[in-house]
């Protein structure tokens, strides 16, 4: 087989040129970081473990449960206590999984998730330091770093009172969530999230999605509590956190 240095060189140059073109589609802040501001549509992910459609959402297909994780998941029954149906805080992953639009609001010092879902928000300092209040919370505490043009958000100190997704994959208060956001071009954002919870999963696992910019959207107020008839009329039961185990250990 003949080796064509000329052809290979041409290919590399073209690839580099294409990369430059794509990078130019990404707006940037004055500090040179990719500008992720905007309202983004994202896929509804009810099952983070599912393989997905391979386009807007790709999951691992099967989750590496520990024995405790499998027991917890198999015993999940929302009819005995439904925190999202009760309009309690969804926690980070349920909020990221929801079907409603999200606004990313970014300055050179802070990055915020503004969720239309229940009109929640999460503000993250971009200085790379740990700004934890020292208590576990529903949405956790986040440290932000950059790896090239990818924003990496590492979140821990969850209170363990939520689940990862609608079908009930569990997580404990030992969960660490690592999100990677990369604006690919003018209208597309790659979102990759890794779940690391040694209590319920024997290894970290990853789910990938694609967000799409919705330049004609504005967020609309969403009050989950304003007409939650299902809760008021007793068909949804609030969770009993007096008996809530944030994690179980393997027997």
């Amino acid at each position: 087989m003949k080796f064509s240095l000329t052809k290979m060189t041409t290919c590399f140059l073209l690839a580099g040129f294409a990369t430059q073109l794509l990078a130019q589609d990404v707006p940037r802040l004055p500090n040179g970081k990719p500008d992720m501001n905007g309202i983004w549509a994202r896929p509804y992910v009810s099952d983070m473990g599912a393989a997905g459609n391979g386009r807007t959402q790709t999951g691992p297909g099967e989750l590496p449960f520990t024995d405790a994780g499998r027991r917890n998941f198999e015993n999940y029954n929302p009819s005995t206590g439904d925190y999202t149906g009760s309009c309690m805080p969804f926690g980070l992953m349920r909020a990221m999984n929801s079907p409603d639009p999200i606004q990313l609001m970014q300055t050179q010092t802070h990055f915020s998730y503004l969720y239309e879902q229940n009109t929640w928000f999460k503000v993250i300092n971009l200085d790379g330091a740990d700004h934890s209040p020292g208590i576990p919370t529903w949405f956790g505490s986040t440290i932000a770093t950059w790896e090239g043009d990818t924003l990496i958000l590492t979140t821990s100190e969850f209170n363990g009172k939520t689940r990862l997704d609608t079908i009930g994959h569990p997580h404990s208060d030992q969960l660490t969530v690592t999100e990677k956001l990369t604006r690919r071009d003018a209208t597309t954002m790659d979102y990759e999230v890794t779940i690391d919870d040694p209590i319920y999963y024997s290894a970290p696992w990853t789910n990938k999605r694609v967000f799409t910019l919705q330049s004609d959207f504005e967020l609309i107020e969403y009050s989950c509590e304003e007409n939650n008839k299902s809760l008021w009329e007793g068909r949804i039961v609030p969770p009993n956190y007096d008996n809530w185990h944030t994690y179980e250990t393997a027997e």
């Binding site: 509804y44 029954n77 929302p78 009819s79 005995t80 439904d82 999202t84 149906g85 309009c87 969804f90 929801s98 079907p99 409603d100 239309e116 879902q117 229940n118 609608t166 079908i167 009930g168 959207f217 609309i220 969403y222 009050s223 989950c224 304003e226 007409n227 939650n228 008839k229 299902s230 009329e233 007793g234 068909r235 949804i236 039961v237």
Partner: protein, 134 residues
Amino acid sequence: MYKFSVTKSKISFLLISFLLTQAPAQAHHSITGEFDTEVSFELRGTITKLDWANPHLWYYLDVITETGSIEKWQCTTGLNPNRLIRAGWKKTDLPMGSIIRTQRSNPARDKSNTCIVGGITLDDGTPIFSGTKT
């Protein structure tokens, strides 16, 4: 006058034709705790009230039974008004007094006259609050 519509007693008879329905998509929480998604039926009735509020829309129907009595039903949907507003819909697009048919309805587990629907149509089959309003 309105034709006979499916009543609760009829629903139990129709259980022979189980449909494993796909739960109405994109509710903010799991619906299986509240509704029996193994059972599917349709209702036909007169809309008397519409809750255009979060977290989900609620339709209130007067359903005429075989005996001519009225059964009052309340049915919700996975939709919230925010998504409908973006799709161009308004609450007034469904006038009170309209006859509607519910699609892929699942009953509440508490046996009340409550259901969740996959969608609704007008009596002539025209979908409403579905897709983008044209």
